[in-house]
């Protein structure tokens, strides 16, 4: 069974601030890590391999330094890795990112199961997975809370819905996005890290892609454009009320009602 896990390098911290005067983003160091949600997808991939045999590959898109997370995936047990990286891919929104990743996946190989984390901690959209599945024209199930197993050329999964669990049988090839806490991710192993130090990381750039039209990548291929970024107006309030009980009750109730906090 060929398993592919899509992973992403994200900033180590979400604490980004905007300088209100200059409008410049204030950075807290350049530390970065593997998107925590992807660890669950990778663990699911490794478990499937252990149970049914096959190979686990990982793919990422990003600047060359994102190779660090492929090394991390190797130390957890991934067999092969590729990075999709080109200046032409910069400024990509969900649509262009999904297109680029799908192109990279086609180049990388044929996969039975593609696993993605539910979302990333930086973009936080949860949209790239399903968009990749559309670009590859394969079935897709998101919010998977349990992988029941593999039956022939199908995978059995439980999808979490608002009030229900939908039990699905999905035929290969397919894309699954898994929820946080679906499994406990293993820690990278020092021995594996040592063993895989020299393992190849394949690099794909625009010239490796089947679609050579530059306008389908990066900012040019993006349907959405960021017009501006600005600091949020904080709606955190701190007030003190010292009134008779009936006034207090009325104030509390009208505040929770207007802030839509009622169950």
């Amino acid at each position: 069974m060929e398993i592919l896990v899509c992973i992403k390098q994200v900033p180590g911290s979400n604490k980004v601030e905007v300088d209100p005067v200059t409008g410049v983003l204030k950075r807290n160091g350049a530390d970065s890590k593997m998107n925590p949600y992807d660890l669950y997808a990778l663990e699911c991939g490794l478990k499937l391999k252990e149970q049914y045999g096959g190979r686990v590959s990982v793919i990422t898109m990003g600047p060359p330094q994102a190779q660090a997370i492929i090394k991390e995936a190797y130390a957890m047990g991934a067999d092969a890795g590729a990075i999709v990286s080109d200046r032409a891919f910069g400024g990509a929104d969900v649509l262009a990112t999904a297109h680029t990743l799908a192109q990279g996946i086609k180049k990388f190989g044929k996969f039975d199961i593609i696993l993605c984390g539910l979302q990333t901690t930086d973009g936080d959209t949860a949209q790239v997975g399903p968009e990749v599945s559309e670009q590859l024209d394969i079935p897709c199930v998101c919010n998977v809370k349990e992988i029941k197993g593999v039956e022939g050329d199908n995978i059995l999964v439980d999808m979490e819905m608002a009030q229900d669990i939908e039990h699905l049988k999905v035929s290969f090839p397919c894309l699954i996005t898994v929820q946080k806490d679906i499994v406990q991710p293993r820690l990278p192993s020092y021995l594996k890290k040592k063993d895989t130090e020299d393992r190849e990381i394949i690099m794909y750039t625009l010239k490796d892609m089947e679609d050579q039209n530059k306008n389908n990548y990066g900012l040019n291929g993006s349907a959405t454009q960021v017009q501006r970024i600005f600091p949020p107006t904080s709606d955190k309030v701190q007030v003190t009320w010292d009134d008779p009980a009936d006034v207090l009750a009325e104030k509390i109730y009208s505040t929770i009602k207007s802030r839509k906090l009622l169950g």
Binding site: G62, K169, G218, I229, V237
Partner: protein, 398 residues
């Protein structure tokens, strides 16, 4: 659409330039400043960098005839025809936006045996409800629902589509957006519209520390998802207006490569960690029986009861209800503490709650330091009055 060009002769300080970029996308290579793949084209380096060092060059853009795309559409989120309330909130917003550009408001309702249920939508200011009703659409499957959605978009050509960010909406919207090669913005908190029908989509980025304003200027339809309880639901009008229009789609379009084996109804998990609303009892309570008062408030609000450590230790409530370092960590949307003084160990378990209301008789109680609403009062006076208010409010609503 465009690209950045580096004018090396205008770069006076490479490191200063590199430090401007929030995405680490500027780097030094052989003494030259270069842009790498991390570039998000935010153009901060153009604005804040050394004058003339970075230039942004516009490139030819693909365009779309926006006048061919009409109507603000809301996707009707539902389970077996039971409409999710986010749908009504979005209809309210769609109405506002449509009015600004003089467009109609549409709803798209996909499912099986739902035609009758569609009538309810006519009370929320919708001009047309388009219904794709087929037995194959009984349970949500991405491929069949996308096929139905595709048929609707091809036939009606809506300018913008708003989708509730529910488990279904969050996976259906991207598949549809990708099929039409168009833009999708997740979890918008503010929506507006330009005269040229461009939807102004504002959403938090970077974990909510920055807001981004996003447009989909050259593609249609424009898709956006919005979470529940972000927009205001309009009042239900007594009179039904608008019409229900059926869209028929050939059954073979609904073929999927997934198969629904069954559906299990989720058991409601009751634990204070995943409660949205918590009412906390503290040592301000004089006796165990008074817990009933706190419980009554929690019930009226549709929330759960929690407590501080002394109460759990006295056996008034099970330890599962205890908040704090030796108990559970909670972050509900609403927490009301009743007679809680606010020991550090307690506060550590709840200070990330979104809205903290603290009721205490002591104006110097340390709980007031973390409270958004510091309420100086006696719980025995305030809570009964508050319960009355909540019950009255509910009575009016129903």
């Amino acid at each position: 659409m465009g690209k950045l060009i580096v004018h090396q002769d205008k770069v006076t300080d490479i490191n200063a330039m590199i430090s401007i970029c929030p995405f680490n996308a500027l780097e030094e290579k052989d003494g030259k400043l270069e842009v790498n793949a991390g570039c998000k084209l935010c153009k901060l380096c153009v604005k804040k960098g050394q004058p003339g060092a970075m230039e942004y060059v516009e490139e030819e853009v693909k365009t779309v005839d926006k006048s061919l795309w009409n109507g603000i559409t809301v996707y009707v989120d539902h389970v077996n025809g039971e409409i999710h309330p986010v749908t009504f909130e979005l209809l309210g917003k769609a109405g506002e936006l449509a009015k600004k550009i003089n467009h109609p408001v549409y709803a798209i309702f996909i499912g099986s045996g739902i035609e009758k249920k569609a009538e309810e939508l006519l009370h929320y200011g919708v001009d047309k409800v388009f219904v794709v009703d087929a037995p194959e659409l009984k349970d949500f499957q991405m491929e069949s629902y996308t096929a139905a959605f595709e048929a609707f978009v091809n036939e009606i050509k809506p300018s913008a589509i708003l989708v509730g960010a529910t488990p279904v909406g969050r996976q259906l919207a991207p598949r549809v957006a990708s099929r039409f090669n168009t833009g999708l913005t997740a979890d918008c908190t503010i929506l507006d519209i330009h005269e040229n029908t461009d939807l102004v989509q504002i959403r938090p980025a970077f974990g909510g520390n920055i807001m981004a304003e996003i447009l989909t200027p050259n593609s249609r339809p424009q898709l956006a998802t919005v979470r529940y309880k972000i927009m205001d639901a309009p009042e239900r009008s007594a009179e039904a207006k608008g019409e229900i229009v059926k869209i028929s789609v050939p059954a073979e379009k609904f073929k999927t490569r997934t198969q629904v084996l069954g559906i299990t109804h989720k058991e409601k998990e009751k634990s204070i960690e995943n409660a949205d609303i918590l009412v906390v009892a503290g040592r301000g309570l004089k006796k165990k029986e008074d817990l009933e008062l706190v419980k009554e408030l929690a019930d009226a609000l549709g929330g759960d009861i929690a407590c501080t450590r002394p109460l759990a230790e006295a056996g008034w409530l099970n330890a599962k209800h205890q908040i704090g370092l030796s108990g559970r960590t909670v972050r509900p949307k609403l927490i009301i503490t009743c007679g809680v003084s606010g020991a550090i160990q307690f506060v550590a378990g709840m200070n990330n709650s979104e809205n903290i209301f603290a009721i205490n008789t002591d104006p110097n109680a340390s709980i007031f330091k973390v409270a958004n609403y510091a309420i100086i009062g006696d719980i025995y006076d305030v809570i009964p009055k508050l319960i009355e208010q909540v019950k009255q409010g509910k009575g009016v609503k129903a």
